[in-house]
Protein backbone atom coordinates (compact mmCIF):
# COMPACT_ATOMS: atom_id res chain seq x y z
CA UNK A 1 0.00 0.00 0.00
CA UNK A 2 2.71 2.45 0.93
CA UNK A 3 4.35 2.06 -2.48
CA UNK A 4 1.27 3.48 -4.19
CA UNK A 5 2.10 6.79 -5.81
CA UNK A 6 0.36 9.63 -4.05
CA UNK A 7 -2.51 11.10 -5.97
CA UNK A 8 -2.43 14.74 -6.99
CA UNK A 9 -2.68 16.70 -3.80
CA UNK A 10 -4.80 19.71 -4.46
CA UNK A 11 -3.11 22.04 -1.99
CA UNK A 12 0.45 21.37 -3.16
CA UNK A 13 0.61 22.19 -6.83
CA UNK A 14 4.27 21.25 -7.12
CA UNK A 15 3.40 17.69 -6.12
CA UNK A 16 0.27 17.68 -8.21
CA UNK A 17 2.00 16.83 -11.46
CA UNK A 18 1.66 13.04 -11.76
CA UNK A 19 4.27 10.99 -13.58
CA UNK A 20 3.65 11.73 -17.23
CA UNK A 21 3.48 8.16 -18.53
CA UNK A 22 1.67 5.60 -16.43
CA UNK A 23 1.40 2.10 -17.87
CA UNK A 24 -2.08 1.19 -19.01
CA UNK A 25 -3.82 -1.05 -16.48
CA UNK A 26 -5.95 -4.11 -17.26
CA UNK A 27 -9.19 -2.17 -17.34
CA UNK A 28 -7.70 0.59 -19.49
CA UNK A 29 -6.41 -2.14 -21.81
CA UNK A 30 -9.88 -3.66 -22.02
CA UNK A 31 -11.43 -0.30 -22.84
CA UNK A 32 -8.89 0.56 -25.52
CA UNK A 33 -9.56 -2.82 -27.14
CA UNK A 34 -13.14 -1.68 -27.51
CA UNK A 35 -12.12 1.68 -28.88
CA UNK A 36 -12.66 3.75 -25.76
CA UNK A 37 -9.76 6.03 -24.87
CA UNK A 38 -8.96 6.44 -21.20
CA UNK A 39 -6.12 7.88 -19.17
CA UNK A 40 -4.53 6.10 -16.24
CA UNK A 41 -4.31 8.13 -13.06
CA UNK A 42 -2.25 7.31 -9.97
CA UNK A 43 -3.85 4.39 -8.14
CA UNK A 44 -6.23 5.08 -5.34
CA UNK A 45 -4.68 2.86 -2.63
CA UNK A 46 -4.01 -0.07 -4.90
CA UNK A 47 -7.16 0.26 -7.00
CA UNK A 48 -6.81 1.10 -10.67
CA UNK A 49 -8.03 4.59 -11.42
CA UNK A 50 -8.82 5.86 -14.89
CA UNK A 51 -10.03 9.12 -16.31
CA UNK A 52 -12.43 9.28 -19.24
CA UNK A 53 -13.82 12.16 -21.24
CA UNK A 54 -17.34 13.24 -20.20
CA UNK A 55 -18.67 12.33 -23.65
CA UNK A 56 -17.26 8.80 -23.25
CA UNK A 57 -18.61 8.18 -19.74
CA UNK A 58 -21.88 6.51 -20.67
CA UNK A 59 -20.37 4.15 -23.21
CA UNK A 60 -17.50 3.33 -20.82
CA UNK A 61 -19.69 2.41 -17.89
CA UNK A 62 -22.10 0.52 -20.13
CA UNK A 63 -19.22 -1.53 -21.53
CA UNK A 64 -17.71 -2.22 -18.09
CA UNK A 65 -21.05 -3.21 -16.66
CA UNK A 66 -22.41 -5.36 -19.45
CA UNK A 67 -19.34 -7.25 -20.65
CA UNK A 68 -19.22 -10.71 -19.13
CA UNK A 69 -15.50 -10.84 -18.43
CA UNK A 70 -15.42 -7.52 -16.56
CA UNK A 71 -18.95 -7.32 -15.06
CA UNK A 72 -18.40 -4.29 -12.88
CA UNK A 73 -22.09 -4.20 -12.08
CA UNK A 74 -22.13 -2.65 -8.63
CA UNK A 75 -22.02 1.13 -8.42
CA UNK A 76 -20.88 1.81 -4.88
CA UNK A 77 -20.84 5.57 -4.87
CA UNK A 78 -20.77 8.68 -7.00
CA UNK A 79 -18.80 11.50 -5.45
CA UNK A 80 -18.40 15.07 -6.56
CA UNK A 81 -15.06 16.67 -5.77
CA UNK A 82 -14.03 20.29 -6.13
CA UNK A 83 -10.32 20.07 -6.94
CA UNK A 84 -8.11 23.08 -7.38
CA UNK A 85 -8.58 23.39 -11.12
CA UNK A 86 -11.15 20.74 -11.99
CA UNK A 87 -14.53 19.47 -10.93
CA UNK A 88 -14.39 15.70 -10.59
CA UNK A 89 -17.16 13.18 -10.64
CA UNK A 90 -15.82 9.94 -9.19
CA UNK A 91 -17.44 6.52 -9.70
CA UNK A 92 -16.48 3.58 -7.50
CA UNK A 93 -17.31 0.34 -9.27
CA UNK A 94 -17.34 -3.14 -7.75
CA UNK A 95 -18.59 -6.45 -8.98
CA UNK A 96 -21.27 -8.63 -7.40
CA UNK A 97 -19.80 -11.80 -8.85
CA UNK A 98 -16.09 -11.24 -8.22
CA UNK A 99 -15.20 -9.37 -5.05
CA UNK A 100 -11.63 -8.73 -6.18
CA UNK A 101 -12.62 -6.52 -9.09
CA UNK A 102 -12.53 -2.83 -8.35
CA UNK A 103 -12.20 0.24 -10.47
CA UNK A 104 -12.38 3.97 -9.93
CA UNK A 105 -13.54 6.03 -12.90
CA UNK A 106 -13.13 9.78 -12.87
CA UNK A 107 -14.54 12.46 -15.07
CA UNK A 108 -12.77 15.79 -14.82
CA UNK A 109 -14.17 19.10 -16.00
CA UNK A 110 -11.57 21.88 -16.04
CA UNK A 111 -12.81 24.91 -14.18
CA UNK A 112 -11.54 27.13 -16.98
CA UNK A 113 -13.99 25.52 -19.39
CA UNK A 114 -17.01 26.31 -17.20
CA UNK A 115 -18.55 29.67 -18.01
CA UNK A 116 -19.42 32.05 -15.20
CA UNK A 117 -22.81 31.34 -13.57
CA UNK A 118 -22.83 27.95 -15.29
CA UNK A 119 -22.46 24.53 -13.72
CA UNK A 120 -20.04 21.89 -14.97
CA UNK A 121 -21.93 19.22 -16.89
CA UNK A 122 -21.47 15.45 -16.68
CA UNK A 123 -23.75 12.87 -18.26
CA UNK A 124 -25.99 11.10 -15.78
CA UNK A 125 -25.67 7.34 -15.27
CA UNK A 126 -29.07 6.99 -13.63
CA UNK A 127 -30.44 5.12 -16.69
CA UNK A 128 -27.93 2.32 -15.96
CA UNK A 129 -28.10 2.27 -12.17
CA UNK A 130 -30.97 3.59 -10.11
CA UNK A 131 -28.38 3.73 -7.35
CA UNK A 132 -26.86 6.74 -9.07
CA UNK A 133 -30.06 8.72 -8.75
CA UNK A 134 -29.66 9.93 -5.18
CA UNK A 135 -25.88 10.03 -5.29
CA UNK A 136 -25.97 12.36 -8.27
CA UNK A 137 -28.57 14.53 -6.61
CA UNK A 138 -26.31 14.75 -3.58
CA UNK A 139 -23.32 15.67 -5.69
CA UNK A 140 -25.39 18.32 -7.48
CA UNK A 141 -26.61 19.66 -4.17
CA UNK A 142 -23.25 19.86 -2.42
CA UNK A 143 -20.68 20.37 -5.18
CA UNK A 144 -22.80 21.80 -7.98
CA UNK A 145 -22.23 19.40 -10.84
CA UNK A 146 -25.10 19.23 -13.30
CA UNK A 147 -25.85 15.66 -14.36
CA UNK A 148 -27.31 15.91 -17.84
CA UNK A 149 -30.15 13.48 -18.39
CA UNK A 150 -30.95 12.97 -14.71
CA UNK A 151 -34.69 12.45 -14.31
CA UNK A 152 -35.14 14.58 -11.20
CA UNK A 153 -32.11 16.73 -10.48
CA UNK A 154 -33.13 18.55 -7.36
CA UNK A 155 -31.42 19.38 -4.08
CA UNK A 156 -31.63 16.43 -1.73
CA UNK A 157 -29.90 17.19 1.58
CA UNK A 158 -30.18 20.97 1.71
CA UNK A 159 -33.49 22.84 1.53
CA UNK A 160 -34.80 23.24 -1.99
CA UNK A 161 -34.23 26.99 -1.99
CA UNK A 162 -30.66 26.87 -0.67
CA UNK A 163 -28.17 29.11 -2.42
CA UNK A 164 -24.66 28.03 -3.32
CA UNK A 165 -22.88 24.70 -3.19
CA UNK A 166 -21.52 24.04 0.30
CA UNK A 167 -18.68 21.69 -0.56
CA UNK A 168 -17.11 24.04 -3.08
CA UNK A 169 -13.89 25.62 -1.96
CA UNK A 170 -15.13 29.15 -2.60
CA UNK A 171 -18.39 28.65 -0.73
CA UNK A 172 -19.23 31.38 1.77
CA UNK A 173 -21.30 30.37 4.73
CA UNK A 174 -24.39 32.50 5.28
CA UNK A 175 -22.98 34.00 8.47
CA UNK A 176 -26.08 36.02 9.07
CA UNK A 177 -28.15 32.90 9.38
CA UNK A 178 -26.84 32.40 12.91
CA UNK A 179 -27.37 36.01 13.94
CA UNK A 180 -30.23 36.45 16.37
CA UNK A 181 -31.01 39.93 15.15
CA UNK A 182 -31.56 38.76 11.61
CA UNK A 183 -35.29 38.18 11.08
CA UNK A 184 -34.45 35.23 8.82
CA UNK A 185 -32.19 33.65 11.39
CA UNK A 186 -32.34 29.89 11.85
CA UNK A 187 -32.38 30.24 15.62
Amino acid sequence: MSETPASPSPANPEKAAPPTELPVGPYGQFLSEHGIPSKRLPDSTGVETIEVEPAQLEVTLKRLRNSEEIALDYLVAVSGVDNTDTFDSVYHLWSYSDPNKELVVKVRIPKASVAAEQLPEVPSVTPFWSAANWHERESYDLVGIRYVGHPYLRRILNPWDWEGYPLRRDYKQPVDSLNDKNPHSFR
Binding site: T4, N12, T45, V81, A131, L167
Partner: protein
Protein backbone atom coordinates in the same frame (compact mmCIF):
# COMPACT_ATOMS: atom_id res chain seq x y z
CA UNK B 1 -57.54 -4.72 1.08
CA UNK B 2 -59.75 -2.63 -1.22
CA UNK B 3 -63.36 -2.66 -0.13
CA UNK B 4 -65.74 -3.51 -2.90
CA UNK B 5 -68.69 -1.16 -2.59
CA UNK B 6 -70.54 -2.92 -5.36
CA UNK B 7 -70.11 -0.18 -7.90
CA UNK B 8 -67.15 -0.63 -10.18
CA UNK B 9 -67.87 2.70 -11.82
CA UNK B 10 -67.15 4.54 -8.57
CA UNK B 11 -64.27 6.94 -9.18
CA UNK B 12 -62.00 8.29 -6.51
CA UNK B 13 -59.65 11.23 -6.74
CA UNK B 14 -56.03 10.72 -5.89
CA UNK B 15 -54.93 12.48 -2.77
CA UNK B 16 -51.47 13.75 -1.90
CA UNK B 17 -50.62 13.78 1.77
CA UNK B 18 -47.51 14.26 3.84
CA UNK B 19 -46.42 11.53 6.18
CA UNK B 20 -43.99 13.07 8.58
CA UNK B 21 -41.55 14.71 9.07
CA UNK B 22 -42.65 14.35 12.68
CA UNK B 23 -43.93 10.82 12.64
CA UNK B 24 -43.15 8.58 15.61
CA UNK B 25 -42.47 5.52 13.47
CA UNK B 26 -39.93 7.09 11.16
CA UNK B 27 -37.16 6.83 13.79
CA UNK B 28 -35.88 10.26 12.98
CA UNK B 29 -37.20 12.89 10.68
CA UNK B 30 -38.38 11.57 7.33
CA UNK B 31 -41.09 13.03 5.18
CA UNK B 32 -42.93 10.85 2.72
CA UNK B 33 -45.00 12.55 0.04
CA UNK B 34 -47.67 9.95 -0.58
CA UNK B 35 -50.05 9.86 -3.49
CA UNK B 36 -52.99 7.82 -2.29
CA UNK B 37 -55.89 6.26 -4.08
CA UNK B 38 -58.15 5.60 -1.15
CA UNK B 39 -56.13 3.30 1.05
CA UNK B 40 -53.63 2.31 -1.61
CA UNK B 41 -50.29 3.95 -2.19
CA UNK B 42 -49.83 4.97 -5.80
CA UNK B 43 -46.62 6.96 -5.57
CA UNK B 44 -44.08 7.87 -2.92
CA UNK B 45 -41.42 10.51 -2.80
CA UNK B 46 -39.14 10.40 0.22
CA UNK B 47 -38.01 13.89 1.21
CA UNK B 48 -34.84 13.71 3.24
CA UNK B 49 -32.36 16.17 4.65
CA UNK B 50 -34.16 17.29 7.78
CA UNK B 51 -31.29 15.98 9.88
CA UNK B 52 -28.52 17.20 7.59
CA UNK B 53 -25.62 18.28 9.77
CA UNK B 54 -23.08 18.81 7.01
CA UNK B 55 -20.85 16.00 8.25
CA UNK B 56 -18.74 16.06 5.09
CA UNK B 57 -18.25 19.81 5.31
CA UNK B 58 -17.33 19.44 8.97
CA UNK B 59 -14.76 16.83 8.06
CA UNK B 60 -13.08 19.28 5.75
CA UNK B 61 -13.08 22.02 8.34
CA UNK B 62 -12.04 20.07 11.43
CA UNK B 63 -8.72 18.46 12.15
CA UNK B 64 -8.45 14.70 11.83
CA UNK B 65 -8.35 14.37 15.58
CA UNK B 66 -11.52 16.41 16.07
CA UNK B 67 -13.37 14.71 13.27
CA UNK B 68 -12.66 11.23 14.61
CA UNK B 69 -14.72 12.05 17.68
CA UNK B 70 -17.50 13.61 15.65
CA UNK B 71 -18.06 10.81 13.22
CA UNK B 72 -19.78 8.42 15.61
CA UNK B 73 -22.81 10.69 15.36
CA UNK B 74 -23.45 9.82 11.72
CA UNK B 75 -25.09 6.54 12.61
CA UNK B 76 -25.73 6.72 16.30
CA UNK B 77 -26.70 3.08 16.62
CA UNK B 78 -23.48 1.74 15.16
CA UNK B 79 -20.80 4.28 15.93
CA UNK B 80 -18.05 1.68 15.90
CA UNK B 81 -18.54 1.07 12.21
CA UNK B 82 -18.32 4.68 11.09
CA UNK B 83 -15.14 5.07 13.11
CA UNK B 84 -13.83 1.88 11.61
CA UNK B 85 -14.54 2.92 8.02
CA UNK B 86 -12.79 6.23 8.58
CA UNK B 87 -9.84 4.56 10.30
CA UNK B 88 -9.48 1.95 7.56
CA UNK B 89 -9.53 4.50 4.76
CA UNK B 90 -6.95 6.64 6.54
CA UNK B 91 -4.79 3.60 7.33
CA UNK B 92 -4.91 2.56 3.68
CA UNK B 93 -3.54 5.92 2.67
CA UNK B 94 -0.91 5.86 5.40
CA UNK B 95 -0.01 2.23 4.83
CA UNK B 96 -0.12 1.44 8.54
CA UNK B 97 -0.52 -2.11 9.73
CA UNK B 98 -2.61 -2.67 12.82
CA UNK B 99 -1.49 -5.14 15.48
CA UNK B 100 -3.51 -8.37 15.78
CA UNK B 101 -4.71 -7.52 19.28
CA UNK B 102 -6.12 -4.20 18.14
CA UNK B 103 -7.80 -5.92 15.18
CA UNK B 104 -9.41 -8.48 17.45
CA UNK B 105 -10.61 -5.78 19.80
CA UNK B 106 -12.08 -3.93 16.83
CA UNK B 107 -13.94 -7.00 15.67
CA UNK B 108 -15.24 -7.70 19.16
CA UNK B 109 -16.60 -4.26 19.89
CA UNK B 110 -18.04 -3.97 16.39
CA UNK B 111 -19.89 -7.24 16.61
CA UNK B 112 -21.21 -6.21 20.03
CA UNK B 113 -22.33 -3.01 18.40
CA UNK B 114 -24.01 -4.95 15.60
CA UNK B 115 -26.00 -6.94 18.15
CA UNK B 116 -27.11 -3.80 20.00
CA UNK B 117 -28.17 -2.24 16.74
CA UNK B 118 -30.20 -5.26 15.66
CA UNK B 119 -31.74 -5.54 19.13
CA UNK B 120 -32.92 -1.96 19.03
CA UNK B 121 -34.32 -2.58 15.58
CA UNK B 122 -36.15 -5.65 16.81
CA UNK B 123 -37.79 -3.83 19.69
CA UNK B 124 -38.83 -0.77 17.76
CA UNK B 125 -39.95 -2.76 14.75
CA UNK B 126 -42.40 -4.68 16.86
CA UNK B 127 -43.69 -1.36 18.19
CA UNK B 128 -44.14 -0.23 14.59
CA UNK B 129 -46.24 -3.30 13.98
CA UNK B 130 -48.37 -2.55 17.00
CA UNK B 131 -46.86 -4.76 19.70
CA UNK B 132 -46.83 -1.81 22.06
CA UNK B 133 -46.69 -3.52 25.41
CA UNK B 134 -44.19 -5.87 26.84
CA UNK B 135 -42.18 -7.23 23.99
CA UNK B 136 -39.82 -4.30 23.29
CA UNK B 137 -38.42 -4.62 26.80
CA UNK B 138 -36.97 -8.06 26.11
CA UNK B 139 -34.44 -7.01 23.46
CA UNK B 140 -33.72 -3.79 25.34
CA UNK B 141 -32.77 -5.81 28.41
CA UNK B 142 -29.92 -7.52 26.54
CA UNK B 143 -29.04 -4.32 24.72
CA UNK B 144 -28.45 -2.54 28.03
CA UNK B 145 -26.08 -5.28 29.14
CA UNK B 146 -24.03 -4.87 26.00
CA UNK B 147 -24.12 -1.09 26.17
CA UNK B 148 -22.80 -1.29 29.73
CA UNK B 149 -19.89 -3.34 28.47
CA UNK B 150 -19.27 -0.94 25.59
CA UNK B 151 -19.43 1.97 28.00
CA UNK B 152 -16.87 0.26 30.20
CA UNK B 153 -14.44 0.00 27.32
CA UNK B 154 -15.08 3.28 25.51
CA UNK B 155 -16.42 5.60 28.19
CA UNK B 156 -19.69 6.34 26.41
CA UNK B 157 -22.81 4.33 25.71
CA UNK B 158 -23.24 5.15 22.06
CA UNK B 159 -20.71 7.74 20.87
CA UNK B 160 -17.68 5.58 21.41
CA UNK B 161 -14.72 7.17 19.66
CA UNK B 162 -12.94 3.93 20.51
CA UNK B 163 -11.61 2.87 17.12
CA UNK B 164 -9.03 5.44 16.11
CA UNK B 165 -6.80 5.94 13.12
CA UNK B 166 -3.94 3.56 13.91
CA UNK B 167 -5.62 1.20 16.34
CA UNK B 168 -7.91 1.30 19.31
CA UNK B 169 -7.98 3.61 22.27
CA UNK B 170 -7.24 1.30 25.20
CA UNK B 171 -7.52 -2.16 26.67
CA UNK B 172 -10.87 -3.09 28.23
CA UNK B 173 -11.06 -2.75 32.02
CA UNK B 174 -10.44 -5.63 34.42
CA UNK B 175 -13.15 -8.25 34.50
CA UNK B 176 -14.57 -7.15 31.15
CA UNK B 177 -13.76 -10.35 29.28
CA UNK B 178 -15.43 -12.50 31.95
CA UNK B 179 -18.60 -10.46 31.81
CA UNK B 180 -18.65 -10.58 28.05
CA UNK B 181 -18.12 -14.34 28.10
CA UNK B 182 -21.04 -14.77 30.47
CA UNK B 183 -23.17 -12.66 28.13
CA UNK B 184 -22.27 -14.70 25.04
CA UNK B 185 -23.21 -17.89 26.87
CA UNK B 186 -26.68 -16.72 27.80
CA UNK B 187 -27.46 -14.70 24.67
CA UNK B 188 -28.55 -17.57 22.36
CA UNK B 189 -31.21 -18.52 24.91
CA UNK B 190 -32.45 -14.95 24.88
CA UNK B 191 -32.73 -14.98 21.09
CA UNK B 192 -34.74 -18.19 21.43
CA UNK B 193 -37.01 -16.26 23.77
CA UNK B 194 -37.64 -13.51 21.22
CA UNK B 195 -38.22 -16.05 18.51
CA UNK B 196 -40.70 -17.93 20.69
CA UNK B 197 -42.76 -14.77 20.98
CA UNK B 198 -42.39 -13.38 17.48
CA UNK B 199 -41.33 -15.74 14.71
CA UNK B 200 -44.39 -17.99 14.59
CA UNK B 201 -46.81 -15.41 15.91
CA UNK B 202 -49.84 -15.43 13.57
CA UNK B 203 -50.36 -11.67 13.79
CA UNK B 204 -46.70 -11.06 13.00
CA UNK B 205 -46.79 -13.48 10.08
CA UNK B 206 -49.91 -11.84 8.70
CA UNK B 207 -48.27 -8.43 8.85
CA UNK B 208 -44.96 -9.49 7.31
CA UNK B 209 -45.28 -12.55 5.06
CA UNK B 210 -45.37 -11.57 1.40
CA UNK B 211 -45.34 -7.86 2.24
CA UNK B 212 -42.84 -5.50 0.63
CA UNK B 213 -41.21 -7.91 -1.78
CA UNK B 214 -37.83 -6.81 -3.02
CA UNK B 215 -36.52 -8.77 -5.97
CA UNK B 216 -32.85 -9.51 -6.48
CA UNK B 217 -32.50 -7.39 -9.60
CA UNK B 218 -34.19 -4.31 -8.13
CA UNK B 219 -32.09 -4.56 -4.98
CA UNK B 220 -28.87 -4.74 -7.00
CA UNK B 221 -29.98 -1.92 -9.28
CA UNK B 222 -30.51 0.41 -6.33
CA UNK B 223 -27.30 -0.57 -4.56
CA UNK B 224 -29.17 -1.95 -1.55
CA UNK B 225 -26.83 -3.67 0.91
CA UNK B 226 -26.77 -5.41 4.24
CA UNK B 227 -29.42 -7.78 5.61
CA UNK B 228 -31.97 -6.17 3.29
CA UNK B 229 -29.98 -7.36 0.28
CA UNK B 230 -29.12 -10.77 1.72
CA UNK B 231 -32.80 -11.40 2.48
CA UNK B 232 -33.35 -11.05 -1.27
CA UNK B 233 -30.83 -13.78 -2.02
CA UNK B 234 -27.66 -11.89 -2.93
CA UNK B 235 -24.59 -13.05 -1.07
CA UNK B 236 -22.77 -9.83 -0.41
CA UNK B 237 -21.26 -9.48 3.03
CA UNK B 238 -17.94 -7.67 3.02
CA UNK B 239 -16.80 -9.72 6.01
CA UNK B 240 -16.88 -12.75 3.72
CA UNK B 241 -16.58 -11.48 0.17
CA UNK B 242 -13.83 -8.92 0.78
CA UNK B 243 -12.50 -10.10 4.14
CA UNK B 244 -10.91 -7.29 6.08
CA UNK B 245 -9.32 -7.21 9.52
CA UNK B 246 -9.26 -10.75 11.01
CA UNK B 247 -12.60 -11.96 9.67
CA UNK B 248 -10.84 -14.53 7.49
CA UNK B 249 -9.59 -16.28 10.65
CA UNK B 250 -13.04 -16.58 12.20
CA UNK B 251 -15.72 -19.14 11.57
CA UNK B 252 -19.18 -17.83 10.98
CA UNK B 253 -21.98 -18.10 8.48
CA UNK B 254 -23.55 -15.38 6.43
CA UNK B 255 -27.31 -15.90 6.41
CA UNK B 256 -28.58 -15.53 2.85
CA UNK B 257 -32.24 -16.24 2.24
CA UNK B 258 -33.54 -17.57 -1.01
CA UNK B 259 -36.87 -16.35 -2.23
CA UNK B 260 -38.69 -13.13 -2.69
CA UNK B 261 -37.11 -11.08 0.06
CA UNK B 262 -40.22 -9.98 1.90
CA UNK B 263 -40.44 -8.24 5.24
CA UNK B 264 -40.37 -11.53 7.10
CA UNK B 265 -37.17 -12.60 5.33
CA UNK B 266 -35.45 -9.40 6.45
CA UNK B 267 -36.52 -10.10 10.02
CA UNK B 268 -35.21 -13.66 9.85
CA UNK B 269 -31.93 -12.53 8.36
CA UNK B 270 -31.26 -10.12 11.21
CA UNK B 271 -32.18 -12.65 13.87
CA UNK B 272 -29.72 -15.15 12.39
CA UNK B 273 -27.07 -12.48 12.10
CA UNK B 274 -27.28 -11.79 15.82
CA UNK B 275 -26.55 -15.44 16.55
CA UNK B 276 -23.58 -15.37 14.17
CA UNK B 277 -22.22 -12.19 15.74
CA UNK B 278 -22.46 -13.88 19.11
CA UNK B 279 -20.36 -16.76 17.77
CA UNK B 280 -17.78 -14.32 16.45
CA UNK B 281 -17.45 -12.64 19.84
CA UNK B 282 -17.04 -16.03 21.52
CA UNK B 283 -14.21 -16.99 19.16
CA UNK B 284 -12.53 -13.63 19.62
CA UNK B 285 -12.46 -14.04 23.39
CA UNK B 286 -10.60 -17.32 22.93
CA UNK B 287 -8.32 -16.25 20.12
CA UNK B 288 -7.34 -12.71 21.04
CA UNK B 289 -3.54 -12.37 21.26
CA UNK B 290 -2.43 -11.56 24.77
CA UNK B 291 -5.67 -12.82 26.29
CA UNK B 292 -7.67 -10.93 28.85
CA UNK B 293 -6.71 -7.61 30.37
CA UNK B 294 -5.62 -9.40 33.55
CA UNK B 295 -3.08 -11.38 31.56
CA UNK B 296 -1.85 -8.22 29.84
CA UNK B 297 -1.40 -6.56 33.22
CA UNK B 298 0.69 -9.51 34.39
CA UNK B 299 3.02 -9.07 31.43
CA UNK B 300 3.68 -5.50 32.51
CA UNK B 301 6.26 -3.74 30.37
CA UNK B 302 6.62 -6.74 28.08
CA UNK B 303 3.17 -6.00 26.66
CA UNK B 304 4.18 -2.50 25.59
CA UNK B 305 7.18 -3.82 23.68
CA UNK B 306 5.38 -6.65 21.90
CA UNK B 307 4.32 -5.65 18.38
CA UNK B 308 1.39 -8.05 18.46
CA UNK B 309 -0.08 -6.43 21.54
CA UNK B 310 0.49 -2.79 20.73
CA UNK B 311 -2.85 -1.04 20.56
CA UNK B 312 -2.00 2.18 18.79
CA UNK B 313 0.29 2.65 15.81
CA UNK B 314 -0.15 6.40 15.58
CA UNK B 315 0.19 9.17 18.08
CA UNK B 316 -3.19 10.51 19.11
CA UNK B 317 -2.98 14.23 19.57
CA UNK B 318 -4.17 17.34 17.82
CA UNK B 319 -1.26 17.10 15.38
CA UNK B 320 -2.65 13.90 13.87
CA UNK B 321 -2.07 13.95 10.14
CA UNK B 322 -2.63 11.62 7.22
CA UNK B 323 -0.35 11.44 4.21
CA UNK B 324 -1.38 12.93 0.90
CA UNK B 325 -3.36 10.51 -1.20
CA UNK B 326 -6.78 9.17 -1.72
CA UNK B 327 -8.47 6.02 -0.58
CA UNK B 328 -11.76 4.26 -0.26
CA UNK B 329 -12.51 1.71 2.42
CA UNK B 330 -15.71 -0.03 3.33
CA UNK B 331 -16.89 -2.10 6.28
CA UNK B 332 -20.01 -4.19 6.73
CA UNK B 333 -22.17 -2.21 9.13
CA UNK B 334 -25.47 -3.55 10.55
CA UNK B 335 -27.21 -1.76 7.69
CA UNK B 336 -24.84 -2.68 4.87
CA UNK B 337 -21.79 -1.42 3.04
CA UNK B 338 -20.49 1.64 4.83
CA UNK B 339 -17.84 3.28 2.70
CA UNK B 340 -15.57 6.21 3.31
CA UNK B 341 -13.78 8.00 0.48
CA UNK B 342 -11.01 10.30 1.62
CA UNK B 343 -8.85 12.69 -0.35
CA UNK B 344 -6.05 13.92 1.84
CA UNK B 345 -3.49 16.56 0.99
CA UNK B 346 -1.21 15.87 3.92
CA UNK B 347 -2.35 18.76 6.07
CA UNK B 348 -4.11 18.45 9.40
CA UNK B 349 -7.50 18.48 7.67
CA UNK B 350 -8.84 16.24 4.93
CA UNK B 351 -9.40 17.75 1.51
CA UNK B 352 -12.59 15.85 0.80
CA UNK B 353 -14.71 13.34 2.66
CA UNK B 354 -17.43 11.35 1.02
CA UNK B 355 -19.53 8.93 2.97
CA UNK B 356 -21.27 6.08 1.27
CA UNK B 357 -23.94 5.36 3.81
CA UNK B 358 -25.93 2.14 3.62
CA UNK B 359 -29.14 3.78 4.83
CA UNK B 360 -28.95 6.36 2.04
CA UNK B 361 -28.98 3.74 -0.71
CA UNK B 362 -31.39 1.45 1.12
CA UNK B 363 -33.91 4.24 1.55
CA UNK B 364 -33.84 5.13 -2.13
CA UNK B 365 -35.51 1.79 -2.93
CA UNK B 366 -38.51 2.60 -0.72
CA UNK B 367 -40.82 3.83 -3.53
CA UNK B 368 -40.37 0.48 -5.30
CA UNK B 369 -41.44 -1.35 -2.16
CA UNK B 370 -44.41 0.77 -1.12
CA UNK B 371 -46.32 1.28 -4.35
CA UNK B 372 -49.38 -0.94 -4.43
CA UNK B 373 -49.54 -1.53 -0.68
CA UNK B 374 -52.17 -0.12 1.66
CA UNK B 375 -51.19 2.75 3.91
CA UNK B 376 -51.14 0.49 6.98
CA UNK B 377 -48.23 -1.48 5.51
CA UNK B 378 -45.99 1.56 5.07
CA UNK B 379 -44.46 1.30 8.51
CA UNK B 380 -44.18 -2.47 8.36
CA UNK B 381 -42.10 -2.11 5.19
CA UNK B 382 -40.19 1.00 6.12
CA UNK B 383 -39.25 -0.47 9.48
CA UNK B 384 -38.02 -3.67 7.90
CA UNK B 385 -35.27 -2.01 5.86
CA UNK B 386 -33.82 -0.63 9.10
CA UNK B 387 -32.98 2.90 8.08
CA UNK B 388 -31.37 5.33 10.48
CA UNK B 389 -32.24 8.83 9.39
CA UNK B 390 -29.09 10.61 10.65
CA UNK B 391 -27.18 8.06 8.58
CA UNK B 392 -29.20 9.08 5.52
CA UNK B 393 -28.89 12.82 6.03
CA UNK B 394 -25.43 13.02 7.60
Amino acid sequence: MAVNVGNDQLKTDEMIINMGPQHPATHGVLRLLLTLDGEMVRNVEPVIGHLHRAQEWQGQNRTWFQYQALIDRVDYLSGMFTSWALARAAEHIEGIKISPRAEYLRVMVSEMNRITSHLLWLGTYLIDLGAMFGFPFYPFREREKLLDLLEAVAGQRMMFNYIRIGGVQCNPPLGWFDKLKRFTEEFPDRVDEYEAIVTENPIFLKRTKGIGRLSKSVAMDYGVTGPTLRASGVNLDLRRTKPYSVYDQLKFEVPVLEGDGDTWARYTCRIREMRESNKIIKQCIEKIPGGTTEEIRKLGDEANKDENLKLMAKKQNSGLRVKAGEGFAAVESPRGTLGCYIISNGSDKAYRFKWRNPSFSNLSVLPELLVGHPIADIMAIFGSIDVILPDVDR
